[in-house]
């Protein structure tokens, strides 16, 4: 009996955007002290619908049109008139939600909830959420989000090499060495992360990637990962070959609620794409992914979201060129007259996000990309370059 009561109520969230979803996850873990936990549809004991989102309304309609299988909690700024749901007025007060969760629990135990029932909306005049709690939740999310979404760093060659620590074993000036200047992402943390992210997205499940280092939490709904490490630590770990490093086993598990540090460290969330992008850069260090052939054309699907990514040297230029049509990495090096390692590191990052691939053409060998035609007719190259120079110099 006791066990049953302490087991968190299994809640399914409906109609919320990524951020609200995540906030609820934290809210249950944090202020609600694990009274409830967010689970997938199939595991749910209770449905929680946020009516203030357009999708919430349709979700509720759908739930109510089905024969109700479990209690429904509705969150809304405006009072709802349905008698068959538990209503929590927004802004949510801790006491209210705890009381409603307890009611849901009782209903489940009574097994009487499948019939329609009459519950008055719970209102409470008890203490609203304390300031500290607020900080740990919504407000905190807002503040930290702004900081996190700070604009991209655009690097020139000098600062970039120092930041990345380009691989030193390869002489990129030696043409013969380029054929061997590859790396295999799957031998590094990068490979495990992209694999785990893939699983998480496919199953639409929050997952945790465990290694002998720090756990990486993946939140597919908000498209974010959480990792309690700074850039320097991540960069160091990224460059370790996994099998060599420790022979450590990496595992993917459900998120361990004990990893409660999440709620204290809201600033450790990263957009999945921005994170994978950066990780690939630190793993590549100027090498290209083994799966790609530097002599054969690669294509790019679309522009990366550069304002929220680390911008490697010449990245915009390489993208613009590839957007005109596939080219081999070596051809890019030649056409733009830039160092191969900068083409390779960019291709590695874009490849990690699935933006770049080998172009499958019937006559690859015959395929020789045309010289770049400029669209700008009247304006001289000089003028456009001067605008660029101006933009880049006044950051």
């Amino acid at each position: 009996m006791k066990d049953k009561q302490t087991k968190p109520l299994q809640a399914v969230l409906h109609g919320m955007d990524g951020r609200t979803y995540k906030t609820m996850v934290m809210y249950f873990q944090g202020p609600c002290k694990g009274e409830a936990v967010v689970v997938e549809e199939v595991d749910g004991e209770v449905d929680i619908v946020d009516l203030d989102f357009p999708s919430g309304k349709s979700a509720l309609d759908k739930i109510r049109s089905q024969k109700m299988r479990r209690p429904v909690i509705v969150l809304s700024r405006e009072e709802v008139s349905f008698k068959d749901v538990l209503y929590v007025e927004k802004p949510i007060h801790l006491a209210t939600i705890l009381s409603v969760l307890a009611q849901a629990r009782t209903l489940i135990q009574q097994q009487g909830w499948s019939k329609s029932f009459d519950i008055l909306p719970v209102k409470t005049t008890e203490n609203p959420v304390s300031v500290a709690e607020k900080k740990a939740l919504g407000d905190g999310v807002e503040i930290k989000k702004t900081a996190k979404h700070k604009t991209a760093m655009q690097m020139d060659e000098g600062s970039f090499s120092a930041f990345i620590g380009m691989i030193t074993e390869i002489d990129f000036n030696d043409k013969d060495q380029l054929d061997k200047a590859f790396y295999s992402p799957k031998n590094y943390f990068q490979g495990y992360v992209t694999a785990a992210v893939k699983v998480s997205k496919e199953k639409n499940r929050m997952l945790q990637l465990n290694s002998n280092w720090k756990p990486l939490l993946i939140f597919p709904h908000s498209h974010e990962v959480w990792l309690d490490a700074d850039d320097k630590q991540l960069r160091a770990f990224a460059s370790l070959e996994m099998n060599k490093a420790t022979g450590a086993k990496l595992t993917i598990t459900a998120i361990d609620p004990a990893t409660s540090a999440v709620r204290e460290k809201m600033d450790k969330f990263y957009d999945i794409d921005a994170f994978v992008w950066k990780l690939a850069i630190w793993t590549s260090k100027g090498r290209y992914p083994q799966a790609l052939d530097i002599h054969r054309p690669v294509f790019i699907k679309h522009w990366p979201n550069f304002t929220r990514s680390l911008i490697t040297p010449h990245a915009l230029q390489i993208t613009a060129l590839l957007m005109r049509g596939p080219r081999s990495m070596l051809n890019i090096v030649e056409t733009l007259n830039i160092k191969p390692q900068y083409v390779f590191v960019f291709i590695s990052a874009a490849y990690a996000l699935g933006l770049v691939g080998q172009a499958e053409r019937k006559s690859d060998e015959l395929f020789e990309p045309p010289p770049i035609k400029t669209i700008a007719k009247k304006e001289s190259k000089g003028l456009l370059s001067r605008i660029l120079g101006k933009l880049r110099s006044s950051k």
């Binding site: 908000s222 770049i372 660029l388 933009l391 880049r392 950051k395």
Partner: protein, 180 residues
């Protein structure tokens, strides 16, 4: 003396005035008026004629930055505005009811200009509404037959606006040297 212009467009409140302010060397000339109609609920001031800013280049050249008024009833001016334009920056407010509809509307309205030059798209207010995602925009654009740069942009952040304009310039000519 020839006039080099970059045109900023997009729906009401997308951040055109703010974006021009971010990269202009002069305090921009705004023609904002107190919003009176449907705009009012959303913001205090809206641009009724156009925005104007300048970037001063080395060598004394000037790039003129023009912003269209967001409200559709002013669209008769757009044709005149684009003459001599280098390219188009389209800003979309992710928090609006149907940003894809906005996108289609502006890409169609400026289709001739875009065909002659190029376009780069900045999605603003993503801090307020993270859906649709940038990936969703790319899927939509694919259907429309466009492949422009699409960046998450906060119009108040100079570097965001700068990167978007840089992408526009490289789209025009990937061979540009970036002064490194």
């Amino acid at each position: 003396m020839s006039q080099y212009k970059i045109i900023f467009t997009g729906p009401v409140g997308a951040g055109k005035t703010t974006a021009i302010e971010s990269i202009s060397d002069i305090p921009p000339i705004k023609t904002d008026a107190v919003a009176t109609d449907m705009t009012k609920a959303r913001k205090a001031a809206t641009t009724v004629a156009m925005d104007y800013g300048i970037m001063n280049l080395a060598g004394g050249e000037k790039i003129h930055l023009y912003g269209t008024p967001g409200q559709e009833r002013f669209d008769f001016m757009w044709d005149i505005l684009t003459i001599g334009g280098i390219g188009l920056i389209l800003l979309l407010d992710n928090n609006r009811a149907d940003p894809f509809q906005d996108m289609k509307f502006f890409l169609e309205s400026f289709s001739k200009f875009i065909a002659d030059t190029s376009v780069a798209i900045g999605v603003t207010q993503m801090d307020l509404s993270n859906k649709p995602t940038i990936a969703d925009y790319h899927s939509q654009l694919q259907g429309l037959g466009f492949k422009p740069a699409v960046f998450a942009v906060d119009a108040r952040v100079k570097n965001d606006v700068s990167l978007l304009v840089q992408a526009l310039l490289y789209s025009l000519d990937p061979g540009l040297k970036d002064h490194e």
